[in-house]
């Protein structure tokens, strides 16, 4: 059976990675293979990593307020690389009012403070089109 592969990425100038590490650990314990990129990644870096790792999910964490710029940029670059079918999700300090815009840009779900890790795990399990053969 194919394992679900998830990139946990921190785009932009934001060094607050406690949340991302908690997520990485929770996804690991859910049986996923998690590639943690480390902090301060450019959208280009994240797209290349998703490409080389053939990731099913790109999960981004951002607490700097630049989500409206960086999240859609990653989706755009993924599409350029032919990876438009990958599940992209975001999390962090993101105002409710920004969520409709982000979803319109192709980020499938946003997890704000207080979300349970199970919510993300279940969301991934339900939404990854794993081409198991």
């Amino acid at each position: 059976m194919k394992k679900i592969k998830v990139i946990v990425a921190k785009p932009g100038l934001d060094g607050h990675d406690r949340g991302a590490k908690v997520i990485a650990r929770a996804l690991r314990d859910a049986g996923f293979e998690v590639i943690y990129t480390g902090i301060r990644q450019t959208p280009e870096d994240i797209a290349v990593i998703a490409q080389e790792e053939d990731a099913d999910v790109i999960a981004m964490s951002l607490l700097s307020g630049a989500h409206n710029t960086l999240f859609p940029k990653v989706v755009e670059l993924l599409k350029e690389k032919g990876l438009g079918d990958r599940l992209v999700v975001g999390g962090g300090v993101i105002p409710e009012s920004d969520i409709p815009f982000l979803k319109e840009k192709g980020i499938k779900e946003i997890f704000t403070p207080g979300s349970k890790t199970e919510e993300l795990i279940n969301f991934i399990k339900e939404n990854v089109k794993c081409d198991e053969e």
Partner: protein, 311 residues
């Protein structure tokens, strides 16, 4: 993306990075078409030099690899990196963190990196590692670096997969050199004493050199001291490793290892075919439980069972 073998093979041979990535996924997960891809790609392999990097956790394997790749890129070589990290024996999950140390190469089109979970294999690599090496080889990589999980003493699988193996040590891990002797220290073609800025590095270097003098028939194994975060050190690292590679070529050690690898690979292939036959046989005999019934629940080969198996 399409998964059919022909599309994958053509994509890999024409240098399409996304297709290489997908091909690795297919082979790693043994999805449909994996066998066909591997068997057809085999004839396009044999050009890459495969360097294994191993050593205890935290010795600096990833950081060393990153700096060494920087040096290799100055020679305009195309580089593949396969980095293995441990999978959980309980959930099968893994956190693969080697990319964090190699970020300077992310956007370099001539470097392709893939992270693998060890998925229950205990030798420091994953079972599919050598097949993934073949895909990268066929893709046109000049050098493929295979980094193992952080190892203890007995994970020597890398020496069978790689053309040459570098064992990375750092001060603080090496006080018990003597105890480490059998096992990973035996597979080193090169020793690297990393973190040379730390106290104890000189002592470790000395201990290694003395151990080599006492115990090894091959007295030409170099001990290279460096600090992996210092790019300046890597001109020397490169020239030492290059010397070693030249020696391997001159003494035909490389040819011998590659021949041994072929012997082992074909042996393994036959073994896995026989395993399939075993499965069929067991099925024919009515499954493992009815076989156990034949022996009254005991684990031994009765004459009757031996004859049934031979039939």
């Amino acid at each position: 993306m399409k998964n059919n073998p022909e599309f994958i093979i053509n994509g890999i041979l024409s240098g399409d990075r996304s297709v290489l990535a997908r091909g690795i996924t297919i082979v790693e997960n043994d999805l449909n078409g994996a066998e066909e891809i591997i068997s057809k790609i085999e004839e396009k392999t044999g050009n890459a030099f495969i360097l294994g990097i191993t050593g205890p956790p935290g010795a600096g394997k990833s950081t060393f690899t990153s700096s060494f790749v920087t040096e290799l890129r100055k020679q305009n070589l195309k580089i593949g990196i396969i980095a293995v990290d441990p999978s959980s024996p309980f959930t099968g999950g893994a956190v693969l963190g080697d990319r964090i140390r190699m970020r300077v190469h992310t956007k370099d089109e001539n470097v392709f990196m893939r992270s693998l979970g060890s998925r229950g294999a205990l030798g420091g690599l994953s079972l599919k590692t050598s097949r993934i090496v073949s895909l990268m080889d066929a893709f046109g990589m000049d050098v493929i670096i295979v980094e193992t999980v952080g190892v203890g003493q007995s994970e020597t699988e890398i020496s069978k997969t790689a053309d040459m193996t570098a064992v990375i040590l750092a001060p603080g891990f090496g006080d018990d050199i003597q105890a480490l002797k059998a096992g990973i220290l035996e597979i080193a073609d090169i020793f690297v004493v990393n973190k040379s800025d730390l106290a104890g590095a000189d002592k470790l270097e000395l201990e290694l050199k003395q151990t080599l003098k006492l115990n090894y028939t091959d007295t030409s194994i170099p001990v290279i001291k460096c600090c992996s975060t210092r790019d300046d050190d890597f001109e020397n690292v490169y020239s030492e490793i290059k010397k070693r590679v030249d020696y391997f070529k001159k003494e035909k050690i490389l040819d011998e290892r590659r021949l041994n690898r072929k012997r082992r690979d074909i042996y393994d292939l036959i073994k896995s075919e026989i395993e399939k036959i075993t499965e069929e046989k067991i099925k024919k005999l009515g499954g493992i439980d009815s076989i156990l019934n034949m022996t009254d629940g005991k684990v031994y080969l009765t004459e009757e069972l031996k004859n049934l198996v031979k039939m």
